[in-house]
C-alpha cells in the first residue's frame, strides 16, 4: 500500500466515523424537533436545575407531581371518546399543530399537549441532568481538565443561593413540620441521604445523642436554638395528641457571661412561641433546690463536690464520707437548706440526732468524727457560699417546661463545674423520680467543655443513655469534645442522633465517621495540549463529608453526618410563628410562690420521749 492510498483510507475512515456521529446527532435533533413541546419543557427543566443547583431527583419529583394533571386530561379525553382511543389523546393534536408554525398556533399546540409534555419533559430533563453530573464528575465530559472542579464549585454556589432562598421564605422552615419532624434549614447538598428542599430531622433523633461542633461565629447558636425549639414544639404536639410525655428541656450554657443572657432571652422567646408555659433562666430569675434529692444521692453528691485528693488524703475522704452519711441520713430526713445542712455538721447535733440507745453504731461514729467536724463544716460553708443561693431553693425542675442554666465556666470554672455536677444530678433525679409526672427530657450542653472537669461529657452521655434522656453536646472544636482521643471518639461514635459539623479547622475525625464513597476517576491521554481519544477509568474512594468543604463553610452552613451519609444545609434563623396564640392569662394569679421550708429544731425532737420508750413496743395498739 502506498502512502497516498493509506492517507485516503484513513481520511475515508475518519469521515465515515464523523458522518455516523453527525447522523446520530441529526436524528436526535429531528426527534427533538418532532416532539418539540417535550423538548421545550426538558430544556427549561435542565436550565432551571443548572441555574439553581438542583439534583436530578428534584426534576423527577416535579414530573411525578405533574402526573395527576395527565391523568385528569386522559380521564377528560376518555369521557369524550370512550374506550381505548382516549389513550391516543396525547398524539392527536400533533399532526394539526405542525401546519400552524405561527406563534398562536405553536402556543395552542403546546397547551393542547402540555398535560403530557410537562411530565415527560421534566423526566427527560432529569435524566439528561443526571447524565451531565455523572459525566462531569467521572471526567467523561468537559473541555478542560479542571472541568469537574469548576463545575462542582459553581454548582455549590448555586445550591447555597437556592438554600438561602428557602430559608428566607416565611413558611418554608417553621419550627415544627408534619409528622413530628424538625425543619432545620434549606438543603444545600445531600450525599447518601434522600434530598429534600428543606432539611428536616425526626424529633426522635433529638431524644438520642447528638454532637454539634463548630467554631465561634459559625452559626452554632442558631442551629442549637432551632433544634431545641423544634424538639420542644414536636414533643409538645405529641404530648397534646396523647402520644408521649410533656417535654422538659434543660440547657446548660457552659460559658456564661453576657452572650449567654442574650441567648437565654432568645431561647425563651422562641420557646414561648412554640407553646411553652414557663421557661426558667437560672440563676438570674429562678432557683433550684439541691436538697430535694433523696438522702443517699445527696450525700454522694455533696461528697463529690469537695476535692478530696488521693494518697494520704484518702483517709480524710473516708471521714468526710462517713460524716456526710451521718449528717444527711440522720433520722427525720435529709436537710432542707444549706443552713440546715451546716447546722448538722456539729458534734452536738449529730450526737443528739443519733440516739445511742437506738443507733449505737452511728452514735459511736459521730463521736469519733467529732474533732473533724469543724473543718468539714468550714469547707462546706465555703463551698456552698461560693455556689450561691440559686441551688438552695425553693424550686424544682418540674415547675417549668424549660430551664436555661447559665454557668460561669469562663469566669469561675471551679464553681461552674460544681454547679454543672449538681444540676446533672437533679436532672437524673427528675428523670427517674416516680412521684411527679413523667417527662420527655432533652439535656443540651452548650460549650460543655468549659465545665466538664467534674462530670466528663462521656459520663453525661452514659448517664443520659441509661436514664432515657436525650443528650446534645456542643463544642467549639474536635479537641473540645473530650479530654483525650479515646473519649472524643467514644462521644462522637455513640452520637446515634447524628453529628452536626459547622465551620471548624480540624473536621477530619468527624468526617471519618461519615466514611467514604466510591467515585469514578477518568484519566485522559493528552495529545499536545488537548485531550486524546484514549484513557482509563478507575474506582476510587472520596470523602462523603469532605473536610475541605467543611473548613470552608460559611456562617450558618452545616453538615449533618448520620449513618455514613452527609447533608450540607443552610441553617434558618429560628423564629416563632407570628400567629402563635397564647392562652388567655388567668384572671387571678395562680402562682403560689413556695415558702422556703423550715427544718424543725434538731435539739428538740431527738430528746423527746417516744411512746415505745414509755409504754413499750406495741403499747399504742
Amino acid at each position: 500500500m502506498s502512502v497516498w492510498s493509506w492517507l485516503k483510507l484513513t481520511l475515508c475512515l475518519w469521515l465515515l466515523h464523523k458522518a455516523v456521529k453527525a447522523m446520530g446527532w441529526l436524528l436526535l435533533a429531528a426527534l427533538a424537533a418532532a416532539v418539540w413541546p417535550v423538548t421545550v419543557v426538558a430544556a427549561a427543566g435542565y436550565a432551571a436545575a443548572w441555574l439553581r443547583g438542583w439534583p436530578p431527583v428534584r426534576l423527577y419529583r416535579a414530573a411525578a407531581w405533574a402526573l395527576p394533571v395527565t391523568m385528569a386530561w386522559l380521564a377528560a379525553a376518555a369521557l369524550r371518546v370512550p374506550g381505548w382511543p382516549a389513550a391516543l389523546a396525547p398524539g392527536r393534536p400533533w399532526p394539526g399543530g405542525r401546519d400552524h408554525l405561527a406563534a398562536p398556533g405553536l402556543a395552542r399546540m403546546f397547551l393542547l399537549t402540555a398535560p403530557a409534555a410537562v411530565p415527560a419533559g421534566l423526566a427527560v430533563a432529569g435524566i439528561i441532568w443526571a447524565w451531565r453530573i455523572y459525566a462531569i464528575g467521572a471526567g467523561l465530559s468537559g473541555i478542560v481538565a479542571s472541568a469537574p472542579i469548576t463545575f462542582d464549585a459553581r454548582q455549590w454556589k448555586r445550591q447555597v443561593r437556592t438554600a438561602k432562598g428557602i430559608t428566607e421564605a416565611p413558611g418554608a422552615v417553621p419550627l415544627r413540620a408534619r409528622g413530628g419532624k424538625i425543619p432545620v434549614g434549606g438543603t444545600i447538598r445531600a450525599i447518601g441521604h434522600r434530598w429534600h428542599p428543606v432539611f428536616t430531622l425526626p424529633a426522635t433523633a433529638c431524644a438520642r445523642h447528638m454532637v454539634v461542633v463548630g467554631a465561634t461565629g459559625s452559626g452554632k447558636t442558631n442551629l442549637m436554638i432551632r433544634l431545641w425549639a423544634g424538639w420542644f414544639a414536636a414533643t409538645l404536639a405529641a404530648a397534646r395528641a396523647g402520644r408521649g410525655n410533656w417535654p422538659l428541656l434543660i440547657v446548660l450554657d457552659g460559658k456564661g457571661g453576657r452572650d449567654a443572657r442574650v441567648k437565654a432571652g432568645r431561647t425563651r422567646r422562641l420557646l414561648y412561641g412554640a407553646g411553652a408555659r414557663q421557661v426558667a433562666i437560672w440563676p438570674d430569675e429562678a432557683r433550684l433546690s439541691l436538697w430535694d434529692l433523696p438522702a443517699a444521692d445527696l450525700a454522694v453528691l455533696l461528697y463529690q463536690m469537695i476535692e478530696s485528693g488521693t494518697g494520704a488524703a484518702a483517709y480524710y475522704a473516708d471521714i468526710l464520707q462517713a460524716v456526710l452519711t451521718l449528717a444527711v441520713g440522720a433520722p427525720g430526713g435529709a436537710p432542707l437548706s444549706t443552713a440546715a445542712f451546716l447546722d448538722r455538721l456539729d458534734a452536738r447535733w449529730l450526737q443528739a440526732a443519733w440516739d445511742p440507745a437506738r443507733y449505737p453504731a452511728e452514735a459511736a461514729r459521730a463521736r469519733s468524727a467529732a474533732r473533724h467536724l469543724p473543718d468539714i463544716q468550714l469547707r462546706y460553708a465555703t463551698l456552698l457560699a461560693r455556689l450561691g443561693p440559686a441551688l438552695d431553693g425553693p424550686g424544682s425542675l418540674a415547675e417549668a417546661d424549660a430551664w436555661y442554666f447559665i454557668l460561669e465556666g469562663t469566669r469561675e470554672p471551679s464553681v461552674a463545674e460544681t454547679q454543672a455536677m449538681a444540676i446533672t444530678e437533679l436532672a437524673a433525679h427528675a428523670a427517674t423520680s416516680l412521684h411527679g409526672e413523667p417527662r420527655a427530657m432533652l439535656l443540651a450542653a452548650d460549650d460543655y467543655s468549659a465545665v466538664s472537669g467534674r462530670v466528663p461529657v462521656s459520663s453525661l452521655y452514659e448517664r443520659g443513655r441509661s436514664l432515657g434522656i436525650g443528650v446534645q453536646v456542643s463544642a467549639q472544636s474536635w479537641q473540645g469534645l473530650g479530654r483525650d482521643e479515646d473519649e472524643r471518639y467514644r462521644i462522637a461514635a455513640t452520637a446515634d442522633g447524628g453529628i452536626f459539623v459547622l465551620r471548624t479547622p480540624h473536621p477530619e475525625p468527624l468526617s471519618q465517621l461519615a466514611g467514604r464513597r466510591r467515585v469514578l476517576e477518568t484519566a485522559h491521554r493528552l495529545v499536545g495540549s488537548s485531550w486524546g481519544d484514549e484513557g482509563t477509568t478507575r474506582i476510587r474512594h472520596a470523602w462523603t463529608a469532605d473536610p475541605d468543604l467543611i473548613r470552608r463553610l460559611d456562617v450558618g452552613q452545616a453538615c449533618y453526618i448520620h449513618r455514613g451519609a452527609a447533608t450540607f444545609f443552610q441553617v434558618a434563623r429560628p423564629k416563632p410563628s407570628p400567629l402563635t396564640l397564647l392562652p388567655p392569662p388567668a384572671p387571678e394569679p395562680v402562682v403560689q410562690v413556695p415558702v422556703p421550708r423550715q427544718e424543725a429544731a434538731p435539739a428538740a425532737w431527738p430528746a423527746a420521749p417516744r411512746l415505745d420508750d414509755i409504754f413499750g413496743p406495741g403499747a399504742a395498739r
Binding site: 416565611p170 413558611g171 395528641a241 442574650v262 415547675e399 456562617v555 395562680v590
Partner: protein, 169 residues
C-alpha cells in the same frame, strides 16, 4: 439610653460591617466623650458607646445584634408573647375539635398577611394570566381543564412557602 448598638456608635444597622469600621466609629466617639478629657467628656455617651462596641466588635456579635433588631421590629406588630405565670400541676387540654381544618382555613388571611403577600400576588397573577390564556386559546378541549388544574397545583405547591407558619409551628 438607646438599645440599638449600631445607633450608639452612629453606624448603619447592617450585619456586613467590618471590624475596622466598628473600631473607627468607637474610637471617634471615645475620643470625643472620654471622661478624662479636659471638658469632662460625656460619661453616659461614652459608656453607651463602649457597651455597643463590646457587642459589635466581632462579626458574630454584629449579625446577632442585627438579627435581634429585625426580630424586635417584627415583634412590635405581633401578639404578646410575654411569659405566662406558671401553671401548677397538669392542665387538662381541650381535645382537638373536628372543625379544626375550617379553623385553619379561617387563619389563611392572617397567614397571607404575615407572610410574603406580594410574592403570592405575583404568583397568583401569573397563574391567573396563564389560565386565561389557556381558556382563550383552547376552549372546550380536554386539555384546558387539565392545564388550568396544573397551574392551580403549581400555585398551591409553590405558594405555601410564602405563607406564615400556623400557630405554634
Amino acid at each position: 439610653m438607646t438599645t440599638n448598638p449600631f445607633e450608639a456608635l452612629g453606624l448603619p444597622a447592617r450585619p456586613d460591617l467590618d471590624d475596622e469600621q466598628v473600631r473607627a466609629a468607637w474610637r471617634a466617639i471615645a475620643a470625643a466623650t472620654h471622661p478624662d478629657r479636659s471638658d469632662g467628656g460625656d460619661l453616659a455617651r461614652y459608656t453607651a458607646a463602649s457597651a455597643a462596641y463590646a457587642e459589635l466588635r466581632s462579626g458574630w456579635g454584629r449579625s446577632e445584634a442585627w438579627a435581634d433588631l429585625v426580630e424586635r421590629a417584627e415583634r412590635s406588630c405581633e401578639p404578646d408573647t410575654s411569659p405566662l405565670p406558671a401553671i401548677p400541676g397538669e392542665v387538662p387540654l381541650p381535645p382537638v375539635p373536628p372543625w379544626r381544618p375550617l379553623m385553619d382555613l379561617g387563619r389563611l388571611p392572617a397567614r397571607i398577611g404575615r407572610g410574603r403577600p406580594l410574592r403570592l400576588l405575583v404568583r397568583a397573577a401569573v397563574a391567573a394570566l396563564l389560565s386565561m390564556a389557556v381558556l382563550a386559546l383552547i376552549p372546550g378541549t380536554p386539555a384546558a381543564p387539565a392545564d388550568v388544574g396544573g397551574l392551580i397545583l403549581w400555585f398551591v405547591l409553590t405558594g405555601r412557602r410564602d405563607l406564615a407558619p400556623p400557630p405554634e409551628r
